[in-house]
Subunit: 267 residues, 4 copies
């Protein structure tokens, strides 16, 4: 006999579009990773929320403090990054706030914000190598040699504006204070020692955060997403500043700053 249960059984699979373990939505009840949202609001920090959403459980208080520092460190780099410039160009063009903010994030390519992801992957692969037989210093030496031989830049080291990025040592200091220095940071340190000796190159913010986020157990695929979470308030502040203080649709470049080197009139 076709009972209600039979029907449900037949039709449910076709109806299920989405499966999620993040939040359960019921009338007047929102359960995120097993916690009622009203129990989270006012009781956990933003860093704890990020950790909970991604990893499914709450961090320790020290891990939470660490992640909050990481997010704060991404806040802003003035008008120098292409993401910030794009956001301001969009704001000047009169695009709405949500499009300006989303648009800025689209300038997070492999050369900008991508470095943290590459650095995390690099460090996580390095630590994998130590499992077999080598110690961290040996792995560091091998990895540096491989990159130098190929003439490539090691992601997370060196910066186009800073030779001593002030954010990197501070982040590692916070990591130490909060017992968050693990094997990935150790590897990053060992690499920095070799690079500084050979090339005068230091760890940058991406290298420091890559080590810390890896030690906190985050998948390298989340690296640039973490950067985006930390940077979004900066993009909003810049869009708001552009709109508040500048002329709409201003000519940021003068015509004389553009050089045409194409064909000259087939007339």
């Amino acid at each position: 006999m076709i009972t209600e249960e039979v029907l449900k059984d037949i039709f449910k699979p076709n109806n299920l579009k989405w499966r999620t373990a993040i939040t359960k939505v019921e009338p007047n009840r929102l359960l995120t990773r097993g916690h009622l949202q009203e129990d989270l609001i006012g009781n956990i920090s933003f860093g704890e929320m990020v950790y909970l959403l991604v990893k499914g459980n709450l961090p320790s208080k020290k891990e939470a403090k660490m992640l909050e520092a990481v997010l704060v460190s991404f806040c802003d780099h003035g008008v120098t990054p292409p993401s910030t410039q794009s956001t301001r160009l969009m704001a000047s063009a009169g695009s709405p706030m949500h499009a300006c903010m989303a648009g800025g994030l689209l300038a997070f390519g492999k050369n900008h914000a991508g470095a943290i992801e590459e650095s995390m992957r690099f460090l996580q692969e390095g630590i994998q190598r130590t499992i077999s037989d080598m110690d961290i210093n040996g792995v560091a030496q091998n990895m540096v040699d491989e990159f130098l031989k190929k003439g490539q830049k090691i992601p997370g080291f060196g910066h186009r504006y800073h030779d001593e990025d002030p954010r990197a040592p501070r982040l590692l200091e916070v990591a130490q204070e909060n017992d968050c220095l693990g094997r990935h940071c150790e590897l990053a340190h060992a690499i920095e020692d070799l690079l500084y000796e050979n090339k005068g190159i230091r760890m940058n913010i991406d290298g420091a955060n890559a080590g810390i986020l890896s030690d906190l157990g985050f998948d390298w695929r989340l690296g640039s997403g973490m950067f985006m979470i930390g940077r979004l308030p900066g993009l909003m502040a810049h869009a708001h500043e552009e709109i508040s203080r500048e002329t709409p649709f201003r000519k940021i470049f003068q015509a004389e700053e553009i050089y045409y080197d194409g064909k000259e009139g087939e007339l």
Copy 2:
């Protein structure tokens, strides 16, 4: 005589592309709103950073706790919002993480996340009205009357999933604990009383956050940006979940769920 000063004077104005009061970038020195970034990292919360970036000064500890609660409250609403669905569709299509997250934010239109901005504008205009002669209850009564006469929905009240949005009372409770209840929240309460009596409609999360953010002194134009900052970690978590657990490019809809009602073959 053409001195160096004269030259600088001649050429500087043409060279200045960008003006900002947010962050000064110098080699090895990053100054955000007057604070060295290394002094901020590890010492302030993410909520304090957001406040500092936008408003130019640090909030009180209580205001900081309040803003952090507001950001946490935006975290996630499962797979029900169009923003989350868009992010997951993009992740399924194999778009990179930064594009999935940016893309989700583009679904924050006037019907979704726009409500908080509308609600902030509504409350801020209401408080402007009280400056002339009326008290808050009088203004509330007038505003509700105007909307009901026009048959419009008052932004920040009522929710398509919840008749008693559990986040709204909790946010107001946190506001009370942190002495952050001001005149905008008072107005929101007065409106809720009238709407509940007449229509059985309660304040939702947008209304509560609109009152609180307004009382914290934020321009209504920043309302949906604040929502985006709070929701971005949720979008990242969903993109990551989609990629980690589901088949790439899965058919979320079956062909049978699409109904074609156009022309049938002019052959």
Copy 3:
């Protein structure tokens, strides 16, 4: 008895997510606006396809030629527009092509590309006014007076680079050749006459295309979308040029071009 029909009747409504009159998708059969796609490919132009998709029927050959000219006219404006600059910044940052192209489109705000939409709305409202009692010249005079009194710019007239935008007269010439000049273009001409006499201001590309697209029967809400369709190839060409010829992540601005006018160190 629960028959198959009963079941279909019960469950179908819940399953229908999408309704569309644009394209019917069946295995090995794609029917767009009533035409098999294999009958369209190679037989109609891109302009005809755009018209068909949006309006549901094919244009006349002359209308098709006109629309193709409109799309061609949007092609490129060098590196001056914020959309093109954003696309190139994203390409330089190493964002993938689809994100660079989408990102450029996000710089199409109310001040850039928005003008065509405003101009279409303006002309369509103007023609509405002629229905009651006034002739086109009377309406033009009234509309110009209203804008001048408010000190506002009339959308579609004047350009920040060109005082005689060479694209506008050419577009109107093509419109005449193809019998596509209607009442909206007539109104645009009448307004230009008044503005040129009073202010020396001429119709720009947005004004010309606004008149033509309105005379072709397009809703003003599609104006900036048409601009986007026409401009997207230009954005792709610029992204490709940036990647092909320039250094990745180049510093398009020197630090000296950024002026910081915020607080100086609260140390």
Copy 4:
């Protein structure tokens, strides 16, 4: 002596931000790839414009007809693709048209539209191999063997909705009519013969367009950009249809279609 020329010489390099060979912008004069825009408008098709922008010269009339057919073939695939669904979700959320269209393009990931790029790369690498010693059939056999051994899908063959994609043979027919069948299409045909014999799999639209665009001389890096140019009108038509016919912010999914499999309340 410091003359004006000396000064220009000193300062020009710092001022040059952008270099482009695409369009020269001067007051009242727009020169694109050597042609005045007023000479292009009304005289060339959209396909010719796309070719000119990207390649720097105009195509032959037959190549132009071919490219126009390629662009038309990308027009629309109903509501089945994630890009179209995303655009409609954004439109339903009330995001503005330009954001809905840009947002849809962000769903063009490696699994959707990426196939054409992969297919172009695959065919272009294949033709490179024939330069050394092998004939096309030999290369086809080797490439198919390599993919089958690795258990991978060959990009451009097979479709999730169609086993005989009606667009592919029609495109190749148009290519033949316009003398545009070259070695890349020949290789694609040879691969299809092998795949059809072994697996019953046929060339899809991506494979056909990959062969044709490669034979027209386009870099594989432009493949998904071409798809985007062709699809953008379809996205606009869907956004417009959503707004015109559906309720704003409609619940496309019912709550019952979402399955929560996470933690159940740690209360």
